[in-house]
Amino acid sequence: METPLTRWLCLGCGFSYDEALGLPEHGLPPGTRWTDVPDDWVCPDCGTPKSQFEMVEMGYADGGADLARIA
């Protein structure tokens, strides 16, 4: 069975990366697994390195996923 998609939070500023959504404007198509995000990738908002993101098991607030898609 495929591993569920995960969500990650930047510990420098709170920016979230959602595997389901990816970051198309930053070259990461929807479905890009966190392990496939390059090791030298940094938070697009604050420059925090990938190693300082934390996996979170959190749902979106109402309407939040649509906002995250265009973040």
């Binding site: 420098g12 500023c13 709170g14 607030a61 995250a68």
Partner: protein, 269 residues
């Protein structure tokens, strides 16, 4: 089973960030201004400590030194950021809702939930130093509507009892998390009891000033401890003291678990 750790004042992460040089776009103020930051948990360059406690990711004891010193406008998402002003005056600007400029003095505090995205700026405009406790919390959900609330804790009239500042009590500022922040300011010796809503909740106790003996552990100024599994905390306070309590739901977090496994001695059964 009660578990606890003790973090002495001098064991905290220590950062000094200057308003000139490489951090000049991040730190405001005249050349020579600087922010001194003591971090109880990992933060930015400081990655040598405990990654967090429950929903707490940052507990920073910060001093803005010099006129105009602080953090320039910068973005956040999701984190709930609280500031409790101990000394000086903090000018806080944020973009939550219609946005706002606020000025906070001793006893004032705010809860800023960055939610779906917001910016903020933290400044000490006058030459007087500003000292605040900054607390960053994981939210209950991602992309909540951004919000800002502020209130005042009157140090003169609310002495010698534990007062809830953030949480679900009457008059406390609301927070979208299973969390309470309380404060005890005393001017005489006494014994106090702090009871978390369940023993499964963790309590992070931080002594701002004076001292306190918490469940028989003596804490001096700026010492702290975290406790889980305790039905109640017994505090003996010698005389004039100022103590913060952050009660939080405990998350099963892989980073914190891995850190505790690698530093077994720090988690005392």
């Amino acid at each position: 089973m009660t578990k606890s750790f003790v973090l002495r004042s001098g064991e905290r992460g220590h950062d000094v960030i200057y308003s000139d040089g490489s951090a000049s776009s991040y730190v405001a103020g005249h050349p020579g201004s600087f922010i001194a930051r003591e971090s109880s948990f990992n933060f930015h360059q400081y990655q040598g400590g405990r990654p967090g406690f429950g929903t707490i990711r940052v507990f920073g004891d910060e001093v803005f030194n010099g006129a105009g010193c602080g953090y320039n406008m910068h973005p956040h998402h999701n984190f709930i950021i609280c500031a409790f002003v101990l000394e000086g005056e903090l000018t806080h600007i944020n973009t939550a809702g219609r946005g706002m400029v606020d000025q906070l003095r001793q006893g004032d505090y705010y809860v800023f939930s960055a939610g779906s995205g917001g910016k903020h700026c933290e400044l000490s405009i006058s030459p007087e130093n500003m000292n605040a406790i900054y607390l960053w919390l994981m939210p209950g959900q991602l992309y909540l509507p951004p919000s800002y609330h502020r209130a005042h804790f009157d140090i003169r009239t609310r002495r010698n009892r534990i007062v809830q500042l953030v949480g679900d009590a009457d008059g406390a500022l609301p927070v979208a998390q299973d969390l309470r922040v309380s404060r005890l300011v005393t001017d005489r010796a006494g014994r106090f009891t702090y009871t978390p809503r369940t023993p499964e909740h963790g309590v992070y106790v931080f002594v701002v000033d004076g001292g306190a003996t918490v469940n028989e552990v003596a804490l001096a100024r700026r010492d702290s401890m975290g406790i889980t599994g305790a039905g109640a905390l017994a505090l003996d306070v010698p005389d004039s003291s100022d103590v913060f309590f952050v009660e939080t739901a405990m998350l099963d977090d892989a980073r914190i678990r891995a850190w505790e496994k690698a530093h077994g001695a720090d988690l005392i059964d």
